[in-house]
Symmetry: C2
Subunit: 616 residues, 2 copies
């Protein structure tokens, strides 16, 4: 693995075009040679002059190849003229990265062989690469590759679905074991309170014991019945800032509306751990099962990093006080790779310093460092290579602290074939089953080209974070009464809070007071529309931003439409000047529009909005 210090040649550039073309030419040569060998290796035994199959025919009617060529040229032309300009320095809208050339080439190469990583039988090479990626991801999070496990998924949503499916089934296993004559001995002496919320390592021991005795399926079925009879699968606790797909997850799993509790946020949009602690202790004390506590690590709207360190200290405290505990899942689909900011070459995490090791100039908050440092104690983590991992779609990922967790939902006949420490096959141990081996090849290549440490991904993502921080500085104003005060109305564009990672939320409003009857969020919506309209007419030279609806803005219980910038690249001061100028111009246009339309005389109607509307 090359540990790049500069990112040199990371992305496409006129200087590496010939190399890219030549390499892909070799890839195609290899592929065509392989294809011919596949088709002809058994020859002459298989050559049959009297019978021509569809595949035998190489030359179709006149114009056949012309039709393919025009199809591909049409597609290429449309994309080159209309594709979203993710590589542009002015593209600051969504979580889509520019793709490093090694990752593109690896995807293109593997895709030709069409491997399906459901089993090594259909993907001998790329399942191997997914196992290497699995170990990479374990190390990224701080898990032991031998006891932990990771796999790729189609995206962050399905990774979260899978984690909660496992957490739900795990939570109900101890009570079911207690009710099963042949399994009760495994949990004897536990109080109902502990059975309802057994600590995760004990539940995983139980899985192992049940499996060894051939009881896992039966007790699992009993657990499913008990969940129905108890009318609950346990309570899922998570921040109000959670992505909307978390509601989808709860509904999919058959949780009732009362089973999901969304916790209030701090002014910087992290979950309120005090409130969480009160609720968790009440549930544990009453013996009511907790399905899981989900911590965000880079909420999709705000990039906020929940205080995972505090959540895990809360858990330790509960284990001391009650002997009972809860499953902790981290939704780090966006933020997970930022752990590399402190990852040293030996795999350990560097202690906190005001300025991280990567040299990007990013200044991280101590509580963000603490959250990443605590991550190895969480039970599972969603982390998407196709977001901050700079891999192409599809490339979601799910990482488990203890691989015994997946045996709970594995097909039993497969599971019993697995020894300790062996490489678990992906199909029987994952929610989705089949998946493109090419995605694994791309993630494998990106990890190797960039490097999973502070000078590789750390430097790359540090640059993205530093960019968000520099923009924050340009749009921050002195708060009147500390960080919890509501923002001023006296500036057109204000950064709502110092970003934890590389997402910035900008509140928009007029300088003068005559428009104050118009909700500030209405200006945010108008400014966003103005920017999107400009980008639609001048795709390659325009600024791209996205929108967000912040809950608790401007007062708790209220929501406000803001502009959201996701800086998936590093910008220098001149580029930052351009971004600032374009943002302020769009806001001025929106303020002027309200004036011109006479809307200031009437409160502007803001479309109904919900927190976390960004679809990413």
């Amino acid at each position: 693995m090359r540990h790049t210090h500069s990112g040199g040649g990371l992305f496409p550039h006129p200087e590496n075009r010939d190399m890219f073309t030549n390499l892909l030419g070799q890839v195609i040569d290899d592929y065509y040679r392989w294809h011919a060998q596949c088709a002809e290796a058994a020859a002459p035994a298989l050559i049959d002059p009297t019978h021509e199959t569809v595949a035998d025919r190489t030359a179709g009617p006149a114009g056949e190849m012309d039709a393919v060529a025009s199809l591909v040229r049409e597609l290429s032309g449309r994309l080159a003229h209309q594709a979203t300009p993710f590589p542009s320095p002015l593209y600051l809208a969504h979580m889509t990265p520019d793709v490093p050339i090694a990752a593109s080439l690896a995807y293109l190469c593997a895709m030709l062989y069409n491997p399906n990583n459901v089993t090594p039988e259909t993907a001998p090479v790329t399942t191997e690469l997914e196992h290497e990626v699995s170990e990479d991801l374990c190390r990224l999070i701080g898990y032991q590759p031998g006891t932990g496990w990771a796999h790729l998924s189609s995206g962050g949503s399905t990774a979260n679905f899978e984690a909660m499916w496992i957490a739900r089934n795990l939570r109900s296993l101890p009570s079911a074991a207690a009710a099963h004559p042949a399994a009760a001995g495994l949990v004897s002496g536990r109080s109902p309170l502990v059975l309802a919320n057994m600590p995760v390592p004990q539940m995983l021991d139980l899985v192992e014991c049940l499996s060894a005795r051939g009881l896992l399926s039966e007790v699992g079925r009993l657990a499913a019945e008990q969940r129905r009879e108890a009318n609950t699968s346990g309570t899922l606790l998570l921040a109000r800032s959670a992505h909307y797909t978390w509601d989808r997850c709860a509904d999919l799993l058959g949780l009732g509306p009362a089973d999901v509790e969304k916790m209030e946020l701090t002014p910087t949009h992290r979950v309120d751990v005090q409130a969480l602690g009160r609720r968790v202790r009440a549930l544990l004390a009453n013996g009511q099962p907790i399905l899981a506590v989900v911590a965000m690590c880079g909420s999709s709207g705000e990039g906020a990093v929940d205080d995972l360190d505090a959540i895990l200290r809360l858990r330790a405290d509960c284990e001391r006080r009650f002997g009972a505990s809860f499953y902790v899942h981290v939704d780090a689909a966006f933020g997970g790779y930022c752990r590399t900011l402190w990852l040293q070459p030996d795999g350990t995490m560097a202690p906190f310093e005001d300025r991280p090791l990567d040299g990007s100039g990013a200044r991280m908050k101590p509580e963000v460092h603490a959250a990443f440092r605590a991550m190895p104690l969480a039970d599972s983590v969603t982390v998407d290579p196709h977001k901050s991992g700079h891999s192409p779609y599809p490339g979601g990922g799910l990482v488990f602290r203890d691989r015994r967790a997946v045996s709970l939902v594995a097909r039993e006949s497969m599971y019993f074939g697995q020894g300790n420490g062996s490489r678990l096959p992906f199909g029987p141990h994952t929610l989705e089953g089949g998946r493109p081996g090419a995605a694994a090849a791309a993630v494998w290549a990106a990890h190797r080209q960039i490097g999973l440490h502070s000078q590789g991904y750390g430097r790359l993502l540090g640059g993205c974070i530093a960019t968000a921080q520099r923009l924050h500085k340009r749009f921050s104003v002195a708060r009147r009464a500390g960080p919890t005060a509501s923002y001023d109305m006296d500036s057109e564009v204000i950064s709502c809070f110092a970003p934890d990672l590389n997402i910035l939320n900008l509140s928009v409003g007029p300088l003068d007071s005559e428009c104050q009857r118009v909700p500030r969020g209405a200006f945010g919506r108008l400014a966003l529309d103005s920017i999107l309209a400009e980008a639609a007419s001048e795709p390659l030279t325009s600024l791209y931003v996205s929108g967000n609806t912040l809950s608790s803005r401007p007062q708790p219980g209220r929501v406000e439409q803001v502009m959201r910038l996701c800086t998936m690249k590093e910008l220098g001061p001149v580029a930052l000047d351009v971004v600032e100028r374009q943002l302020r111009a769009a806001v001025s246009r929106s303020v002027a529009k309200v004036g011109t339309d006479g809307a200031a005389a009437q409160p502007v109607s803001v479309p109904a909005a919900q927190p976390g509307v960004d679809p990413f």
Copy 2:
């Protein structure tokens, strides 16, 4: 669209290598030009001589580009030497097709721009292509593109999860409406029996009314509560031959073990519609909700096509008798594209003839034709372009008869913005959200290169089916007492039943009687192992087959390990000779091995097996 009659130039061949390379060269030129424009269009404003970002640096330390090149060359070399030889005429194991060049090129081209079809904002071109594919898939199944809807998914599993999620939520809506003061009027006069199992079109009308009145979310939440209180989400009825991921689906959705009823099979491994009818009528008569009836169209182990026609007649009969009904989903992940065998250029389905229109020589069964003809009356269909659609992974698909169904699980704020007939955005209306736009481009190109009609896909898949039928003939023996009799023990390899589509199941056993104490399935397992071992040592010249565990073999209630051949290509008579010879040789080796090992003296222990173990 070119309607190819011959499949000419469909797959890679030395003669089209230069075209492939040249086209891809143009694609790379377009991509690099676009990338440079993205990076530089805002110049000179963004050029900053004093600040260099990671992305600015094009030349890394010496050896940087060499490292990328060696990474890609390593990957390409490993794949070209070890990849599973899907294009080989002797590869008859799994459902992976050879990929047409148009589909590969389209995937490669679109992938470079890394579009995410969650929203047109991040994929203006490829969401457009997915909408075109959506209309293609509606026409394939026989739905109206204007009122139906389709989207791509990561695979068949997630498509099935999504369909059952929707069916579950839909089923419980009428009772919840009846219990809601503001919605009760919409279902007044309906008996509890009808409310429990309201016909699907009436439920969709109810969705539309609730949505128009702003009550959909609230009544949906009430339905979720009622499902919990009732201790059931309704009964899911499906064939015992269903893929193992259907158990995963039921568990994921929180169904209890008692909520899933697996129906017995006919001797040709279709669901027993008589038994299904008895059970359905009993549930309806008792007012017990039926979540859905799932019909297989190409079961993964056997390629069996359930009698969908009879299931839909059963439904019509129930509606007449009870005014109550059930949701019908078809798992046609494997078989869906075979509807093209009868699809005429005007989109209508040709009437049954012994020999379909495609000219491949396949002789289809009338009841298989009837199942495909009835398909437009089913409520939803899973169909995977990455299986018989000859598209690369990932390319699953889900098709709805009535697009109002997806509004039930859509994010409400999005849904209300949609007019009738408009193009529904994919992210808010699908389970997964984000997905690679490149997958849509590949399916779009495959549909256009091959053609969704009898002379395009029909001819291609007809050749695959004819191949399975010709192999069946080589291994079929006269049955002693018609199709329901158990097979003979007097032949080494016997085709278990005439295939509905292009999957063949071969039962393996010795010619002589001295080994009869060994279960026939033990020979199947040994022969399979022998074939796989040979393929591992001689990957390019060996035969590849897979295994299956047939339930009801040799007697009802028993299971038997058999060899399974999935013919994803057309073979001529000489190639069929080679396949037959290699199969018989492997079986002879397995028989000899039992003799040598002395295992005949002791019953061979067969590993515990479950129906539908093939991971595809």
